[in-house]
């Protein structure tokens, strides 16, 4: 098993396609998205319509890219969007894949 980082991001659905473009630019090879709702500093986001919906994105990648990803998200999105992220150490079956 290989040691990798899992970066989980919870943010507004409104910026989903923008994030996908950013990921492409930054060289992220894969990610997984699920629909979510929640509560945070910016209040309740109940997913009753698109403007109040969240998404939850997971990226499995190596330590360096994970760090880069966090920095860039913080720089470009944190000020203006409802967003949180957290990272955790994970083990994967393949090394070169992530």
């Amino acid at each position: 098993m290989w040691n990798k980082k899992l970066v989980t991001i919870v943010t507004e659905k409104a910026i989903e396609s923008n994030l996908e473009d950013s990921f492409k630019d930054w060289g992220i090879k894969g990610y997984t998205i699920t629909d979510a709702r929640g509560k945070g500093n910016r209040g309740v986001r109940s997913a009753v319509w698109d403007q109040a919906a969240n998404i939850r994105i997971e990226v499995v990648t190596d330590g360096k890219m994970a760090e880069l990803l966090c920095e860039r998200l913080k720089a470009e999105y944190y000020d203006n969007y409802a967003m949180i992220l957290f990272t955790v150490d994970v083990q994967t079956l393949r090394d070169d894949k992530f």
């Binding site: 009753v48 403007q51 919906a53 969007y81």
Partner: protein, 321 residues
């Protein structure tokens, strides 16, 4: 006026609003909300297209220019009021202005129902006016926001135009319009009972959900302040008045002028929020969503519509008399 309040559409909106405010566990599946929204937009386009195919296109040029002018003037007026009277920040003022310059397809649909019920005839190309007014105000408002921006982070305009002109509301309205024109009345016959007959009922059903969505913004009314509440009622009145005059000068009938005024008065809640969230990220969504959905939309639905019709009668009627 009471009569306008007691139709199923308005009552459904009120039911949704009340259920939301009282914190009932009534929820509309998001998939239903989106499905109905999709249906309403494409049908508005198709109906407009069928009408268009029956209309002489001669008289269309001037009203379209008028609609375009509205789409440019209203966001400028709105911006000025918000910035200099309301003391909003540049991004917030521009973001709200984008919503009031753009249009609400649902308000337009309710307006058509209203006119039909009153037997007021209107121009067959009115859906073209709706489509015309969807985008310009958003572009104008975003340009304002960009102009004043300190950080000179470039907006990728190419990508931006792609997103705005290929946003789902534009694709559905324009796609429906084209299908309507191509297929025409006869070709629509076999699918009429899906696309035309149930329209009013499904619109009412959709308003139940809009009431629920609006209710989720009601609690922000306090946060947004008295000025924005007043703006949410005053701005549509100003826009509708300009709309009436432009309707008159571009030769629209009383019905057409009522529609143009209603479009002017209506605030977008599909295209504008999506575009603005990306292009003016610093703007606080609480302001524009609350103003558009929780104040202006219900105001237009209940008090606005009959008022704009009255105005159109005075202004265009006078001219005609």
């Amino acid at each position: 006026m009471i009569d306008n309040l007691l139709n199923p559409a308005v009552l459904f909106f009120v039911l949704g609003l009340v259920a939301g405010i009282l914190k009932s566990d009534l929820k509309v599946p998001q998939a239903l909300y989106e499905s109905l929204s999709l249906y309403l937009l494409i049908v508005i386009g198709m109906k407009g297209g069928v009408e268009l195919s029956k209309t002489s296109i001669q008289s269309i040029g001037l009203p379209v220019m008028g609609a375009l002018a509205l789409g440019i003037v209203i966001p400028l007026v709105a911006y000025a009021i918000l910035k200099y009277v309301g003391k909003f920040s540049v991004p917030d003022a521009a973001a709200i202005a984008a919503h009031y310059g753009s249009v609400s397809a649902v308000t337009y649909a309710v307006c058509l129902s209203f006119l039909q019920k009153m037997n007021v005839p209107f121009e067959g190309f009115s859906a073209v006016l709706l489509v015309t007014m969807e985008v310009p105000a958003i572009v104008v408002a975003i340009m304002i926001a960009r102009l004043y921006r300190s950080k000179t982070q470039a907006l990728p305009w190419g990508k931006f135009f792609h997103e705005v002109f290929l946003s789902k509301s534009i694709v559905l309205l324009v796609g429906g319009l084209i299908i309507g024109v191509v297929v025409g009345d006869a070709g629509m016959e076999p699918v009429k009972n899906v696309f035309f007959d149930p329209f009013k009922g499904l619109l009412a059903f959709f308003l139940l959900e809009m009431g629920l969505v609006a209710s989720s913004r009601i609690k922000d009314l306090k946060k947004v302040g008295v000025f924005l509440v007043l703006f949410g009622i005053g701005m549509p009145l100003i826009s509708a008045l300009i709309g009436c005059w432009i309707g008159k000068f571009t030769g629209l009938s009383v019905g057409g002028t009522t529609i143009l005024a209603t479009l002017a008065a209506s605030a977008s809640y599909i295209a504008a929020p999506a575009a603005v969230r990306i292009a003016i990220p610093e703007a606080n969504p609480s302001y524009y969503l609350t103003a558009s959905l929780a104040i202006t939309f219900p105001f237009n639905l209940t008090i606005g519509l009959p008022l704009y019709y009255k105005w159109a009668q005075w202004i265009v009627g006078k001219a005609g008399g």
